[in-house]
Symmetry: D2
Subunit: 358 residues, 4 copies
């Protein structure tokens, strides 16, 4: 069973292969009367777009999104919104080799085994190109969430080099090609990643996404918990191998008092004294910022040869030429933001349906 | 929107509050003609049952499961299987205090805010008591998976004390009250956890679950990826704050060659040289063991007072008397196994539907 | 794939076989803070209960419903509501014959072919006994809909004997054992059905259900249209073979002007001049009464022998002894009402989620 | 909540408005390795295409379908199949009037009330133009069903003029512009419908669809019964007001023996002696032909003035110029076939998943 739809009330269905004629998505369940044009979506796609620095793939495509339905005279109508991006720079010949060989760490073999067929060109359906549609859908999700909910992301680790959280400055994120909130990490990462790129290698990373202004009460326990849906959303991004909420794996080492986010009344409101929980308790948002992190493994396409096998059942050494991101984690930042936005939009509508308007 | 159903083809719906008359679940989609009796389910419940050592809650209940439908003359019929466990030891008076106060780190406040009402007795719906039904459903999932797929779990860290993986021995797991695969960890944990319990505190833990014998091809890309569904399943367990597949967060620090699981032909079969991926690539099982870990935060119910607020909007110090697990991560081992079994059973049926019989 | 759940936001999962220990359902998605006790549900079950006249099965069961979860101190909590009815009068021996033979017109053969096994006692899962849980769930749906939405049903045809609609009087419905709105139909039906019963035969019927006070705007086009969901809901009732909305099949014979429900402004409101559409246009409620009818075929269990085959592959003549309704359409009236209530509750919550509060 | 997806395992999501740039659909869950090109789909679209006789709308569009994903080198890959048809003949100015007025019997008012906005051009989302994508998806569903399952449809009634079933000849259906299986009905309908068209009126119709070769065992009781899903599928088609399976409403008038489809063994197989049930018992296919009929009401767009209101809240008389089908039921024949194909494909995969390969 294939399953290319995400969400319940705010539902995103994506389609398309890396080197097919186009990729697209259908956003179903978007409330009516929201103002929406291509200009609301394009900036987020531009942020994710490849070819912007030497640290991302040199594939160059305008990634110009087109709204094909669901919007009338600049407003959503409550009917499905179809978004399409033409694939314009497809250089399929680069990928001829991978028709016959399976890249270790890549989905090649898994798709071939499952389906008995795969569109191997550029990774086909398993290509990170699909994440463009996640970003586009995320832009619509932001309209649903409104101005009061702010969603941002940052890269907090490349390889073994983590940022210093004490220097966190959101305003830095847009000023460097890594989406780093720590300006001092930038030269370190530049040098490190430059070496990785020259060596034809790749490297992993950690992304952090944060949503502020989320009202308390979102989340559908027990099997539609906000953190469970968020974990699925982030884990479904290409190359992600781990997800944590709030202090995540650190909480395993905590004793009770360290973990408890104490509360005090302030100005008639409940004020939390810390946010180890990352804004979610019992699967429900608490009103604190939602904080999640996810690990992105190194790109499996690289110029360093690795042992593999081919379709003929022979041992081979694989080198992947093509054009690849040495650190796919960088471009995963806007994708992670988009998934967080989609999950929250879905839960906002779900909560409003079952419990009432927030 | 509440959502108490998990899975698509193998669907589990749970119901019940900690101190209501009973808890239960409905397993819908189980194939017919599998042999099934209460005796197939009970051993897994017994493994999770509280009151078995001084390291778990002293609540004592037989947790005797009853099959109310879907089985005829010892075989499943393809109709929904209803399982019920009576709540027999409910001592609700222990929990009188928490009617008015919100335990930091607990779902109390979140439920109250979301729904405007909560069954506060023993945590009501947010109690880990619900996980008994996950374990029961997991026992049925194991029947669907058959004898060739083996699912096991172990505790690999309590607080700051991790096991030594070089000593991993599955046969040890059943020999100690911690489900530890490392016998040398047992006295260390006993002493540490004894201190935690005496102090009225609690502590976090890390659980690892493994499925061997899983055929290649399970997983429904892109939004029903095996790892995404597994992440949601594990994150939905009470107190879980992080999930990782294979090498998980470690992969962020890897360079490409470290991450690639090289392949070689052996006896006409593809043989992987390592399993950093944890048995899943592109959201699809590869035939290698599925490996996942999750972090369980410390129980928020403890005897050490923490700052909080009450329903009257006053600052209070909360102490939770009742009977609690000092390390809820221990009993999360069989729960994690059950969720892994349920996810795999679901995907086995989904794959068989879309692509054909495995 | 089995599928025993109905609805999206207001979700009902039923379980249980006719002669198992109990039947039950889980209602998930019910909003919190609605007052609910067993006394709110029981009257609807009593209306459907067998053994109340000589025109329904003589199986006598109190059908006493028990709420096992989701309600706290008389109010719904937003968590799943589990309802259970014990099966007390099971006389399984009556059904020994049908273990080996397939009743023509009954689900016996279909279940056996599909699943390779069936609980044949009293029809097992395919028994109309399951509809008790639909009625119970419908009672909760009515709480969701509130006082302003009124749902009623009536029997409008038994065999070839239809009511005279010009004599329609809702107050008559509760005064006769047929739920007939036409008092003059009662003696006719009594005599006719008495003959059917004596002959050991059975007969079909038509039920009409009406919802008044439904706000305009409910319905989720295009594949969750209100009429499409209602058609599925009614067609899923045992023995139903046809469903129509408004003038239904009559509209096939209409020319355009006959079909158009003209509108005029009255007191600043749109006033329809007729209701051929049955309150639904484009899959969305218009504010007019929702009107639907469904045909119930004759009970296939009867004392008149019919040609059939048995599991041994032999020709046989089947007589079904047991205790059966000569006209199962009568007891289908409260079931049809319940399904209409469930569909409307589901769509009320769905609309509120996507578009805003009504 | 909008909901533009149909099916569970074979899932069709449609998008697009009548006068937007394009319409399209995404078919998710199609098994891999089926041969598929645009040429497999186009003939079914051509059959439904407008402008082919004076009895259907004069809107002329090639309705050329394009496959944008999910097919590689002529075979399905198991990934979502995106189909797009450009809208080329949109003459939107014809529809200027209906921006302000609500056509009686049409979805205009319902959409405006529900969403507070509508794309009124050509009916927008509620236009029957969307059914082109149902037909396209149905063509793919036929590939899933394979050569042994044959799906056909016919028009059996226009206005008060029904066919004579004793003259039923499937080979006639493709020889007349009405899809009539009764050649003697053709001149009668021609004359009648010619008069309707000249008068600027419209008329209703009844369509019958049949599937032969369907294996026994399809259907997911109790809330995914084959007939329940089929009822929803057919009722979701524009202008449909009634659905029946097998003898449908006639069964209400039957006594038990008339309704029972007797069985006898023939050549070691169960042979039914009649098919009043329309091939479905207990929601499960029996192996007999699946037979369903549905009523299509008259097109609400016509040149005969009808009383209505406008957005300014004034009484008006509405005439709809544009280009319309005098009997939309004719073109509903291929649409009904397509929905039947989609429902069967979905259930084939569902059954294969839960119970095993057929």
């Amino acid at each position: 069973m294939s399953y290319n739809t995400f969400g319940h009330m705010f539902r995103v269905t994506t389609w398309g292969e890396s080197h097919g004629p186009a990729i697209g998505c259908v956003v179903d369940g978007c409330p009516p009367l929201l103002s929406l044009t291509e200009e609301d979506i394009q900036p987020f796609l531009d942020k994710r777009r490849p070819g912007q620095s030497s640290f991302t793939t040199q594939r160059r495509e305008p990634d110009q999104v087109k709204i094909c339905s669901g919007v009338f005279e600049g407003q959503t109508t409550g009917t499905p919104i179809s978004l399409v991006i033409e694939n314009t720079d497809q250089r399929s010949k680069d990928y001829g080799d991978i028709a016959q060989t399976f890249r270790p760490g890549h989905a090649d073999l898994a798709y071939q085994t499952k389906y008995g067929i795969r569109d191997y060109r550029g990774g086909g359906r398993s290509s990170a190109r699909e994440t463009a549609m996640r970003v586009a859908a995320g832009a619509i999700a932001r309209r649903v969430l409104g101005e009061n909910i702010r969603i941002r992301g940052a890269l907090v680790q490349i390889g073994k080099h983590a940022i210093d959280r004490s220097r966190w400055d959101w305003s830095e994120v847009e000023r460097n090609p890594f989406f780093s909130p720590d300006p001092e990490s930038v030269p370190v990462w530049e040098e490190y990643l430059g070496g990785i790129r020259k060596a034809g290698s790749s490297v992993g990373a950690v992304v952090e996404v944060v949503a502020e202004g989320v009202p308390a009460g979102l989340g559908a326990p027990l099997y539609g918990k906000l953190d469970a849906d968020l974990a699925a959303a982030l884990m479904s991004i290409n190359a992600v191998k781990a997800v944590e909420i709030g202090d995540g794996f650190e909480t395993a080492a905590y004793e009770g008092p360290e973990n408890a986010d104490a509360m005090r009344m302030e100005d008639g409101e409940v004020a939390f004294q810390s946010n180890h929980a990352g804004g979610i308790l019992g699967g429900i948002s608490t009103g604190q910022p939602i904080v999640a992190r996810f690990a992105v493994k190194p790109t499996s396409s690289m110029l360093i040869p690795v042992h593999s096998v081919n379709r003929a059942g022979e041992d081979v050494n694989v080198i992947t030429k093509g054009r690849h991101d040495p650190c796919v984690g960088i471009r995963a930042v806007p994708v992670g933001e988009a998934m967080l936005a989609c999950v929250l939009a879905d839960h906002l509508l779900r909560h409003r349906g079952q419990v009432g308007r927030l």
